[in-house]
Amino acid sequence: MEMSDATPTPAAYTPFPAAGNIPDADREDLRRHGVLMTSMEELYNWGRSNSIWPLQFGLACCAIEMIAAATARFDIARFGAEIFRPSPRQADLMIVSGTVTKKMAPLVVRLWNQMPEPKYCIAMGACAISGGPFKQGYNVLKGIDRFIPVDIYIPGCPPRPEALLNGLVQLQKKIKGEKLSGPDAARFTRADVPSEFPIPEYGAHDLEPTKNPAVWTPPAPPSA
């Protein structure tokens, strides 16, 4: 590899996605001259993306990593998400951290239903994504996305705290890109998109139903 002696070019600037008629580049230009112009949408998204309050609950070993992410060493407070709320009514973010057993799944869906919009879900770790190493077990749900919509998937077994922080940053980017009006408005602004989801019942052999087809459909096998 050859070292270049040219002056390093500054990294390409990615502006905040914003609504309005002024292009982002123009507003950035104004910022350079000391004029701060923003939109209600940008300000709103900036505020709530930097103060995400997660729901305080853990399901398995991933929760230990989540706790570690809250400690001084990893310090989730740097991203404004350190206020773990013990009540779903006060939480913005559900971090499904760990194995969701079939016995626990209805309660997780109930907690999700109790959270007010706008709300987001992170599936943390292999178990929450798909059941992980316990996928074919008799009492493990094969992924929480069978019942509630998941915004961010964080793979790992368990994911390190840095991975959780990366997922949180990805979620912040997603929130900052959300529109509050218009045809591509965010999910929580639309009345035709459900906010609550059916809670599965305990059946004689399995959960009933085993999945919510409005949220999740099985992957199609490769056609080859």
């Binding site: 639309r190 059946g203 004689a204 399995d206």
Partner: protein, 240 residues
């Protein structure tokens, strides 16, 4: 502590009517165990706990085993005179008979003495069969630590512990009907295609796909009482 053979002999002397067998463990661990009958189980357990030279005051572990029906082939060799010649030559005829050894459920208790620092003494109890006579005496009144472990065995194997103070399912939900750790447990057939190296899973997923409705319409049968897929929204309060 006395050997397990000595213990068996002492128990037999103390409980002459009881049926106590030594189950040997041929492995290097050589943890031999005592198979005791359910009728005298409680008396034997109390004796083991209270005997001054044993004082087995701590039950560290209780576990279950499922022994399904086993087919055993017996070979009996009989010597018959050679029918062809009268020279006296005999012929050995093998006769194979198969019988079914009925299965049973087993509970295994590991006992230690905290007071005298010895153990373990391992007890086994077996049910009469795997279907309708699955009752064993509970040892929770003798050792409190058996409580959750016997509930777990009841949950996963289906052994009913008589005189247990609170025999409910421990891990599965109360509406659950099966006993998942039994060898003949039939798991829910809900395999889907997934990128896996395990061919057995893909085979099951394939069979499932052929027998079931089209994938997208798999919605099919929501359980009784469960709400239909939500279409109406209740997030109006969150509108900015």
């Amino acid at each position: 502590m006395e050997t397990v053979e000595q213990l068996r002999d002492r128990l037999l002397a103390r409980f002459p009517a009881a049926k106590i067998e030594l189950v040997t463990n041929p492995s290097a661990a050589a943890e031999h165990s005592l198979l005791i009958d359910a009728a005298h189980g409680r008396d034997i357990a109390l004796f083991l706990r209270d005997d001054p030279t044993l004082r087995l005051d701590y039950c560290s572990n209780v576990t279950g085993i499922d022994w399904p029906d086993k087919e055993i082939t017996d070979i009996t060799k009989t010597t018959v005179a050679d029918p062809a010649g009268a020279s006296g030559a005999t012929k050995v005829v093998e006769q194979k008979t198969t019988r079914i050894q009925p299965g049973y459920l087993e509970a295994v208790y590991h006992l230690y003495s905290m007071a005298l620092k010895h153990g373990p003494v391992i007890l086994r109890l077996r049910t009469a069969n795997r279907s309708d006579a699955v009752t064993l005496p509970s040892f929770t009144p003798v050792w409190r630590s058996c409580d959750f472990q016997e509930r777990e065995i009841y949950d996963l194997y289906g052994i009913i512990f008589e005189c247990h103070p609170d025999l409910r399912r421990l891990l599965m939900w109360y509406e659950f009907k099966d006993h998942p750790m039994r060898k003949d447990y039939v798991e829910p057939d809900d395999y889907e295609w997934e990128p896996t190296a395990h061919g057995a899973i893909l085979e099951k997923a394939k069979a499932n796909r052929l027998t079931s409705a089209p994938i997208a319409g798999d919605a099919a049968t929501p359980g009784p009482g469960s709400a239909p897929p939500a279409t109406k929204s209740s997030n109006t309060e969150a509108k900015p």
